[in-house]
Symmetry: C2
Amino acid sequence: TSRVLAVVNQKGGVGKTTTAVNLAASFAASERPTLLVDLDPQANASSAFAASGATPQIYDALSGNCVMKDAVRATELRYLHLVPSGRDLYGAEIELVSAMARERCVERALDDLRDAYELIVIDCPPSLGLLTLNALTAADAVILPMQCEYYALEGLAGLLETVELVRAQLNPGLALEGILLTMVDLRSNLTRQVAQEVRDHFGEQVFEAVIPRNVRLSEAPSHGKPVLLYDAHSKGAVSYLQLADEILRRTPRP
Amino acid sequence: TSRVLAVVNQKGGVGKTTTAVNLAASFAASERPTLLVDLDPQANASSAFAASGATPQIYDALSGNCVMKDAVRATELRYLHLVPSGRDLYGAEIELVSAMARERCVERALDDLRDAYELIVIDCPPSLGLLTLNALTAADAVILPMQCEYYALEGLAGLLETVELVRAQLNPGLALEGILLTMVDLRSNLTRQVAQEVRDHFGEQVFEAVIPRNVRLSEAPSHGKPVLLYDAHSKGAVSYLQLADEILRRTPRP
Ligand SMILES: Nc1ncnc2c1ncn2[C@@H]1O[C@H](COP(=O)(O)OP(=O)(O)OP(=O)(O)O)[C@@H](O)[C@H]1O
Ligand SMILES: Nc1ncnc2c1ncn2[C@@H]1O[C@H](COP(=O)(O)OP(=O)(O)OP(=O)(O)O)[C@@H](O)[C@H]1O
Ligand SMILES: [Mg+2]
Ligand SMILES: [Mg+2]
């Protein structure tokens, strides 16, 4: 069976999609069969593989028009598959409100895929609505990307409370895989101060791997490729390979 | 009566809160009575004034526990008042789904305040859910902050469609005040390319004022002040004053 990792933070623009895309690509580079699930109606993780709005997409699987397996598509990386999303998913949040067991739609939809992959990575929208709640309920562990800025720091405590709430009420096995410092620019006082505060507060829960601010990470999606295929020697690509190694070292091979 | 400006973009981290806070402060600096409304449960605009989670807050006014006037509080700037938000607002999105005239709650709540202010600025969450829909329905015009990056550019067309949809179905008077280029770093090729593309496509609809990447803008909230009170001579402060001037030049004084 596979390990499901949800990439979550209600704060916008902290590097959720960049982390989901490039971490999944790094797992695939180590020949671990990986599935990337785009659960954000913005469909940025899909457009990182030039597949935004492709059909069938995750909305079709969640609304019962098809099974999740039908929405899976290959990518340029042999060991990486993708379930794309698109604008249809905007309606899912409201439709889910009145659905039965509304927090478990994603978990149920992923059931018949878990044996086909070693790792499943879910990219989430910047909110704590039903889509993110579904990802947290389906996940074995959660990765929290965190920009070293004041607003992002303020939101961290609330985010951890939400993870705790989901663990208590919906998914007792939900673990914190780690807090990931992203877009780190050590020349900035603010970044250094916030990074220090996060490490002081959360110690071991912060990944050793740190993602530097690196323009190649923001250029890669416009070429429809993860940074590994766009510029494998860039600081961005190397830092996500380090993150994948750190996670795989902890995860016993199935 | 006042002019209501909604600051909207479902893409996260593009500078919505930074724009709402510093534009409202710049209006107040020109002695125009201004109200800043925080409609994001993250409450970042509130924490920019050290008022995150203060009560009564916007949730209390929307759910009928008090009138909006009771939730208004003063700030360090004489001509700037704030309606704060907090975690309670996370529940509003789901509660609104089944409310009567659910898109007009904010519009109705603001009715008795419109004569007290010349400008009302609404900060929105990074989503196209009911809170953002309420802001678009209550607004006279919308400001779209846009980071010059690939994902932000991809989302712009969808955002403009949503504005068009609201104009057609809920708020015929909704105008586009302008697209604002934020966090602009002209040393980056990607930024220059995206900025050029936006200006080519949208011409006059893009503000002349451009907000540069400026660390003073991200430091100010940790001091509980808009950048105007934190470092009035910084490039960030100057650029928001220019934006305010550009908007005020177009708006006839009441
Ligand atoms: N380490 C980095 N260095 C430079 N740019 C980055 C880095 N990480 C992300 N970016 C860029 O910053 C922007 C925000 O990142 P991203 O879209 O991944 O965040 P997000 O949390 O997924 O946003 P949203 O909340 O909208 O889903 C994107 O334009 C992305 O290309
Ligand atoms: N021009 C700028 N220069 C430098 N930093 C900036 C600038 N504008 C915003 N920031 C910083 O970038 C981060 C994102 O900005 P902000 O929070 O205003 O975006 P947002 O669109 O409101 O995010 P969300 O989608 O979470 O509501 C914040 O940490 C902010 O301090
Ligand atoms: Mg994203
Ligand atoms: Mg904001």
